[in-house]
């Protein structure tokens, strides 16, 4: 069932969506990608990761894909997760929201500096 998702997204959900935007990944793959995307600033443990994955699956933002072996790790089969169409739309909307906020901040900074220079 697809449910509506309310913006803004939590940082964990946003990072997971960004990590899955390029390819399907298993839990550890998502953790690694989030760490690399944020240059080590966002540290997500399995508790936060799988709690968020559960809520995102329920909201229809991501989907469970096949269970397979990751040749870079060991011979254990892992569940892979992929972003859904709703997930892509939600991510795009969230990124647009960030752009809008940034534009407001820039305009406000510009106006402030203009005011300072004008006095």
């Amino acid at each position: 069932m697809v449910k509506n998702v309310q913006a803004p997204l939590t940082p964990a959900v946003l990072h997971i969506l960004l990590a899955l935007a390029t390819e399907v990944r298993h839990g550890y793959g998502i953790m690694k990608q989030v760490e690399s995307d944020s240059q080590g600033k966002v540290r997500m443990g399995p508790g936060t990761l799988y709690g968020s994955l559960g809520r995102m699956l329920e909201a229809g933002l991501i989907r469970e894909r096949e269970k397979r072996v990751d040749p870079e790790l060991d011979d254990e089969r892992r569940i892979y997760y992929g972003i859904s169409a709703l997930g892509r739309t939600t991510l795009a909307a969230e990124l647009q929201r960030y752009r809008d906020v940034l534009a407001v901040a820039r305009r406000s900074a510009h106006a402030r500096s203009g005011f300072v220079h004008g006095t």
Binding site: Y28, M31, G45, P46, G47, Y50, G51, G54, E76, R78
Partner: protein, 156 residues
């Protein structure tokens, strides 16, 4: 290649910690969480980083997540109970309203053409109409509150 004993031990302890999760959550994500934990430990070992601090951090983080999951589950169950109750109230009030309207119409049909005390149904119809209005209001309020509760359940 067999994993080293300290990694195996940490994984076994982590698996024990995961038993504290609600059953449904554990059955769905337990295996993945265990694998993710083992993969992270293995990577730290390979990179020559210490394991002790990391294991403590993951255990604390997972324990917090377990508490959060239980609280969420309790809240969700309470909300589901509320929704079920409001649904019952809504349908019951609607049914009472419909029955009253049917009763009033029947009375009006039966009283048609009668005169005097036989034809005076105002004493019965007036309270019945009032009760119908009350039922309608109750049904509407229950429906609105049910919808709100459902929205809260979807967007906690």
């Amino acid at each position: 290649m067999a994993p080293e004993p300290s990694l195996q031990r940490s994984r076994a302890w982590y698996a024990r910690l995961l038993r504290l999760y609600p059953t449904q959550f554990r059955e769905r994500f337990g295996e993945g969480m265990e694998q993710t934990f083992a993969d992270s430990c293995r990577r730290r070992r390979t990179a020559g980083m210490g394991l002790f601090g990391f294991v403590i951090w993951v255990f604390a983080e997972t324990f917090t997540a377990i508490i959060r999951e239980h609280v969420t589950r309790l809240r969700t169950n309470a909300m589901r109970d509320d929704i079920r109750f409001l649904k019952t109230v809504k349908y019951a009030a609607t049914a009472v309203g419909v029955l009253l309207v049917a009763g009033i119409l029947t009375l009006m049909v039966l009283a048609r053409g009668r005169t005097g005390d036989d034809g005076d149904i105002a004493g019965v119809v007036a309270p019945a109409l009032l009760l119908t209005c009350v039922s309608g209001v109750v049904a509407v309020v229950a429906a609105v509150r049910q919808k709100r509760a459902q929205r809260r359940l979807l967007h906690p």
